[in-house]
Amino acid sequence: MITFENVVKTYGDTRVLNNLSFEIAAGEFTVLIGPSGCGKTTTLRTVNRLIEPDSGRIFINGQDILQMDKVALRRSIGYVIQQIGLFPHMTVQQNICVVPKLLRYDKSRCDEIAHEMLSLVNMPYEKYAHKYPYELSGGQQQRIGVLRALAASPPIVLMDEPFGALDPITRSILQEEIKKLQRKLNKTIVFVTHDMDEALFMADKIIFMEKGNIVQMASPEEMLENPASELISSFMGKRVRGSDQSQKTAADVMIPNVYTCYRDYGVRESIEIMARRSVDSLVVLNPDQTYAGTVSVRTIRDDAKQHKTIETLIRQDNPTVFTDEDAQECFQKLLDGSYGYLVVLRSDRTLAGIVTKTSVARALADLVWGDNGSDVI
């Protein structure tokens, strides 16, 4: 458990931490968020005393950390930074074992740790342990950055915008990995970000800061429902307002995962797929992934015997729309026609998804929930 008691930090005339008092429970994933200069990073860095407060006290499990030896304190707390900071002259294994070595673990114990750690992130030891950081991708480097922080099994890990420098895809993969890892290892994680989506996804508890003060400390759900200030609402902008309906397109209301088959599939094979997925029709694709038509169980049953492949059974009369089509128009088409769904195509005529009545309903529900049932509808 981490406890802040009236912590103050001043740089020149600015108070970066204004009498902060809060508690973080053990095993909790806490995210510090706020506009830049709000003091979130400063708060984080006082926990391992990279920054010393001017006044106030900080306790970890009841022990006043300002009375502890700084170096020993830091060895007992994991630390991950945005720039990753893997030592370029050390291999992956050496990087992972930095803290264990500082703690004078023997060599076999260090080897063991390196094996154990790499297996946590599914990076085979034989393949990666002896590589240098420059030989890894950004995502792999930050995985090792996290492992370095975890290597000596610290109960607390501090992360300062750890995914800030990664591309969006790698970023979301790592977010999931770290979230899982935290649950599995039951660590207390304090995590700084300026990305509300990241905070909402990762956090058990979000601490929203502004100008050195805590504006709100709440679970993601609570913060979404009752943001304590205008600033918080604006941070959660798209989540809360869900934007207005007129801007929604087919892409927003479609189901992206669609059961498909190719035009050269056998009749039996196609029926099999429909049966297994409990659907009554499939979208048929050309070999180059473009849209060929649909095939429904009714047409197959009518004259299945005469055909080997579905080629001749494909119908092209199912309505199609492009991804940027207005969502309301889609819904109108769906209600007007006798077809169960609309096929959504990208501009190159590859399949993007389908719009069904259910998918539209779900999109509307999101809108209602997201806006807390207020004025949009």
Binding site: V71, R74, I81, I84, G85, V98, L102, Y132, P133, E135
Partner: protein
Amino acid sequence: MTDAIVRFLQLYQQRLIVAFATHFLYVLISVSIAFVVAVLLAILLSRIRGLASVLIPLLSVFQTIPGIVFVGILFLYNGMTASTVVIALTIYAVFPILKNSYVGIIKVDDQYKEAARGCGMSPMQILWKVELALALPSIISGFRISVVYTVSWAVIAAMIGMGGLGEIIYSGIMSNNNVMILGGAIPAAIMAILLSRLIDVARSRLLPRSMRRGIT
């Protein structure tokens, strides 16, 4: 010409070996001392940046004073001893190592120092395991420059009659004997080439794969 060389080698073999060995010892001793002094000074300057901005330009100006002048002055105070030669060479050898080490240390990216602090390294451990380790390629290239220069600077030992290959070169100049001039100059060149090769080999042994990139 070949005759002349053979005759030179026969006549001066003994003297050449002694001169070569003396020359080598001057280089070895002064560069070794210079290395320790320069690296310590570089560490100090990297901690007190203000001092560095005064001292480094000052030293680089000092570096332009011809060696002969400096040895001459030092000779007046310290007399005709080997230590005069060693002191002069050391002072000259310090600068390239100092400058390279200093730049190498201050160029270590903050992210590594930040990570090292966060991992719980003590200031001493950060210096050794991170700053000096990462500055090593730069320190070694400074060392290499100093070694090569010192081999040629050590010729001035002969100016105050303290031996080395310079003695043979000066004798050649005095007696207008080209073979003799080359007889002193070529071994000095060979020494410089061999030593720099040796440093290259040592460097590739010393540096991890990740730090040999981009160095030729």
